[in-house]
Symmetry: D2
Subunit: 166 residues, 4 copies
Amino acid sequence: MSLTCIAVVGPGEGASEEAVADAELAGRLIAERGWALLTGGRDAGVMAAATRGAIGAKGIAIGILPSADKANASPDLTIALPTGLGEARNAVLVTAADAVIACGMNPGTASEVALALRAGKPTVIVRQSAQVDSFFADIAGSAPLHVAGSAEQAVDWIATRTSAQA
Amino acid sequence: MSLTCIAVVGPGEGASEEAVADAELAGRLIAERGWALLTGGRDAGVMAAATRGAIGAKGIAIGILPSADKANASPDLTIALPTGLGEARNAVLVTAADAVIACGMNPGTASEVALALRAGKPTVIVRQSAQVDSFFADIAGSAPLHVAGSAEQAVDWIATRTSAQA
Amino acid sequence: MSLTCIAVVGPGEGASEEAVADAELAGRLIAERGWALLTGGRDAGVMAAATRGAIGAKGIAIGILPSADKANASPDLTIALPTGLGEARNAVLVTAADAVIACGMNPGTASEVALALRAGKPTVIVRQSAQVDSFFADIAGSAPLHVAGSAEQAVDWIATRTSAQA
Amino acid sequence: MSLTCIAVVGPGEGASEEAVADAELAGRLIAERGWALLTGGRDAGVMAAATRGAIGAKGIAIGILPSADKANASPDLTIALPTGLGEARNAVLVTAADAVIACGMNPGTASEVALALRAGKPTVIVRQSAQVDSFFADIAGSAPLHVAGSAEQAVDWIATRTSAQA
């Protein structure tokens, strides 16, 4: 059986310190569970931090890049996969993931959370504002959305979902 | 010069009566301006209503479908374009549009509004809740987001943006 | 019912005079049949020629561009649809078409003919070399491939296929 | 630095015994070089054989699937990445690869070889017919195409190209 793949999504440039710290911890915890990390692959913000976390814990980190080459890829990635799809890669990233964790928020991240809910993937938003929590809770419908106060809570919740599937 | 293309996005199944009415009017007003209408193409909800509005005003309506065939296409479309991309077609729809109008809200629609803001496209959200308005206003940053109380306001605002570009 | 959409594909820069002439005629004949023309949209070679032909016959020409903007679009297009997908737009172009006509050959064109055969679309290769004819005939299997000596033959053959479907 | 990723492409159902044997060996040799294997991911033909070869040599095998779920994924894959893109995933697979090896031929495979040449990727066709060799040699132009008589030759040639880049 192939590895469970968990995407950590969030802002690149302009990511908050909090989002970067949450992403790095999430990456580490994902690796410690024996899961593979998926990110948007660029060497910036949440993507780079999650990758550092996973690699620091001797995990596998796979980046699904919008560009057609690896020029902007995080150098820590185990595997860098340029797609050439531009922003359509957000849909691919979410489709490829067994579950999605969002640290921080901007339009690109919002599109990924929304696409994850659309696809019915287990989706966690971590330490977001009350407004962000309410927005996604309102549109989620029956999609499995979890509001987490920390990266630990996010990964623990996904573990309960993933084992339920297995 | 090719026609200005305005996307009207919103829920398919489960669209509210209000969103359907707004979409139909938006489709009509887009056609009356001499613009082409883009939608997600399916024969449901906001997509079908906007298409009816545009075709009723003798406009051109183009559907960019998630499926690989035309089985679920709105029969009123001038042009039905199956993409086979699944939900990644949301990114294509937004990239193809000169501006985006959202009537109603669900995860798919949220992904389209977010991707439009990400791409810096003029984006209008029509008669949404205060929570939806605030969420997108907060993440929009410098992207050109407009909060409109009606389809007329939405199309009028886009006209000011489009003429400024021309 | 939406219009039948026929894609004309072929080289951009570096297209032969013969391929350009065939594409322009194919575009005209497609428009005269009341069909919409699809192309890769760029202002070069076969794409531009087919578009000129269709527009000269008062038809509709739709360009499905690899880029995320309209900067390189043929100015004659009725509708220019940037996708931002890079070369993955070749798959979208073929999926969106009811049938595909190839004038001239290069790697991009070969990918489109191959994807059209993969999808089982009626596919015509026009005035190609004996080697190109044999290559595609060998891989086509049960896919509906037609080898044509002229644009007229290509469009006539598609007409027999399309009416059979209707 | 992320791992060098080599795609092995070829028919799924209907693959010849020769293509399957070549793919399995190519997968093994790729793993023995310390590279990651990319395939189209399905549990059939060349994709499944290359994956078996790489995993048998304790390598990493990543499948980039056309479907939106893992139902048809090869069970041996280290990582299965559903894309939901349908045949547009052929373009993603090629874009993600540092080099491409084709064992066997059908329309899907032809599209991948053509897209690899279009992208200027080092591309090897293994034990094809003289007609297939000539077709791709004729359209390759300046793209780095290699005609190989065995999987060993294919991987050896890629090694010379990859070290030249490093």
